[in-house]
């Protein structure tokens, strides 16, 4: 087991409204393409800013999960 956990980012394109919040909160991880958000990379080293992005999305369109366990980390509840 490595020391740094790996996370997976998913943006549901059917929910995304292109508010641009995630791309502002975590600019290295989300980018708007044709008005909708998309992860820059689907697998990333753990980074708190993507949790902020997922928790700030008004449509809860962003899901952050652990690559190994598939456990959802954000959004909560």
């Amino acid at each position: 087991m490595s020391g740094v956990s790996e996370w997976r980012l998913h943006v549901d394109p059917t929910r995304c409204i292109g508010s641009g919040i995630c791309a502002g909160v975590a600019p290295g991880h989300f980018v708007l393409v044709d008005g909708l958000s998309r992860p820059v990379a689907e697998r990333i080293a753990a980074d708190e800013s993507v949790l902020d992005a997922a928790e700030s999305c008004p449509l809860e369109a962003i899901v952050v999960s652990e690559v190994d366990s598939l456990r959802r980390i954000a959004p909560e509840g």
Partner: protein, 409 residues
């Protein structure tokens, strides 16, 4: 590309006093040109962005900062620089505050408020119909509905609405309130909210204020008491002033655009699309506010914006950009693709957008259902409009319903 920031004389802004909900024809010309320099009533000159792509960049690109306005002679509409709390922050400080409240405004949580909102709308329309015709849509429906909804959500006693509704004007005032009075109202609003927060700490309830108090007490290092009180006061004030204004604006456009009200009456399933189109079409803002400062040199709209220079945007102009919206100056209630910027864009995108959408849909659906023959009770030119505010809106909106003169049988 031209580099003219120091060379040109800034134009006075806003260019003209707002007329009803008309968009100044000047913006159509400006979208064809490089950014221009403008001078707001107070503060340093700024660049003005009007094209869709440029406005989106200024609002969404981290190279444009709100926090950098602190300590600058910010372009503004009032003599004094106003404390704007979360609106003067960038990530990660902004995110720290926003996350505290964002959960309460997700589409999922807002959906849970719909039945109650529908019941309130029905009750208020009962009152409207009992009072006339004619009766004032602003007083009977547009003002009380958003206040009741935000009070329920936050946990603010609706019985205090006369007080805080008066004070809230300070949040959206430019010249309507004399500066001393505006500050007095702001102080009152903050003191009121501070007292309410203190009460919730002793007697928690199932509301957002209690949740904010809990989060603050669990993470005292992350949030000061003052930050929480300003945030809560901002939610209360912004949470109703805008929707209170936009409900009559939407009804006004629907009643004064030939065929629009009838289209929705025949096809109420179009209401969600109509709300988006009305958000796009209505120039809610009366002036520019919340300038963004470039943190590095940025090429934007044919000019070089230098690090440290402020940019203001006109969202209504961006929403009429015909490179994005076909036939942009026409109200099209069936428009399918509508990426309007009516709720802003980027990290400061309206936190209450989903709540506002739900309220606006419920109000229109209720009116279409209960008052299908709705019409203005006075000629358009007799309507009176607010002035001296950040937003445009009607002071009163006398409406009638049922078969009337000019409607035939």
């Amino acid at each position: 590309m031209t580099d003219t920031s120091q060379a040109t004389i800034p134009q006075r802004y806003p260019f003209n006093a707002p007329v009803r909900l008309d968009l100044d024809a000047r913006y159509a010309e400006l979208r064809e040109q490089p950014l221009v320099r403008v001078q707001l009533p107070y503060g340093e000159p700024a660049w003005l962005a009007t094209r869709y792509a440029d406005v989106k960049t200024v609002l969404g690109d981290p190279r444009f900062s709100r926090a950098a306005s602190v300590g600058r002679d910010e372009p503004r509409n009032t003599p004094r620089q106003q404390e704007t709390g979360i609106l003067s922050m960038d990530p990660p400080e902004h995110t720290r505050l926003r996350r505290l409240v964002a959960k309460a405004f997700t589409a999922r949580r807002v959906e849970e408020l719909r039945p109650r909102t529908r019941a309130v709308a029905d009750e208020l329309v009962d009152g409207l119909l009992a009072a006339g015709p004619p009766a004032d849509l602003v007083a009977h429906l547009a003002t009380p509905l958003p206040i009741r909804v935000i009070c329920d959500l936050l946990g603010v006693p609706v019985s205090d609405q006369d007080k805080f509704h008066t004070w809230s004007e300070a949040i959206v005032s430019t010249t309507s309130l004399e500066p001393g009075l505006a500050q007095h109202y702001l102080d009152n609003l903050l003191a009121y909210m501070g007292a309410l927060v203190a009460r919730r700490r002793v007697e928690p309830a199932d509301d957002l204020l209690s949740a904010m108090v809990r989060a603050r007490d669990e993470n005292a290092d992350r949030l000061t008491e003052q930050e929480m009180v300003i945030l809560a006061a901002g939610l209360l004030a912004a949470g109703h002033e805008t929707t209170v204004t936009q409900i009559p604006n939407m009804v006004y456009v629907l009643l004064t655009t030939p065929g629009a009200w009838g289209t929705l009456r025949d096809r109420p399933e179009l209401v969600p699309a109509a709300v988006e189109e009305l958000m796009r079409f209505i120039p809610l803002g009366a002036t520019a506010a919340f300038p963004r400062y470039a943190t590095e040199d940025v090429e934007l709209g044919g000019v070089l914006v230098r690090a440290g220079e402020p940019v203001v945007v006109n969202i209504a102009a961006a929403n009429r950009d015909d490179t994005v919206f076909a036939d942009a100056d026409r109200l099209d209630l069936t428009r399918e693709v509508n990426p309007h910027l009516g709720f802003g864009h980027g990290v400061h995108h309206c936190v209450g957008a989903q709540l506002a959408r739900m309220e606006l849909r419920v109000v229109l659906e209720t009116l279409l259902d209960r008052a299908p023959g709705l019409r203005l009770a006075v000629p358009v030119e007799e309507l009176t409009w607010k002035s001296g505010l950040l937003v445009r809106g009607l002071l009163a909106m006398p409406v009638a319903w049922g078969a009337g003169p000019g409607e035939g049988a």
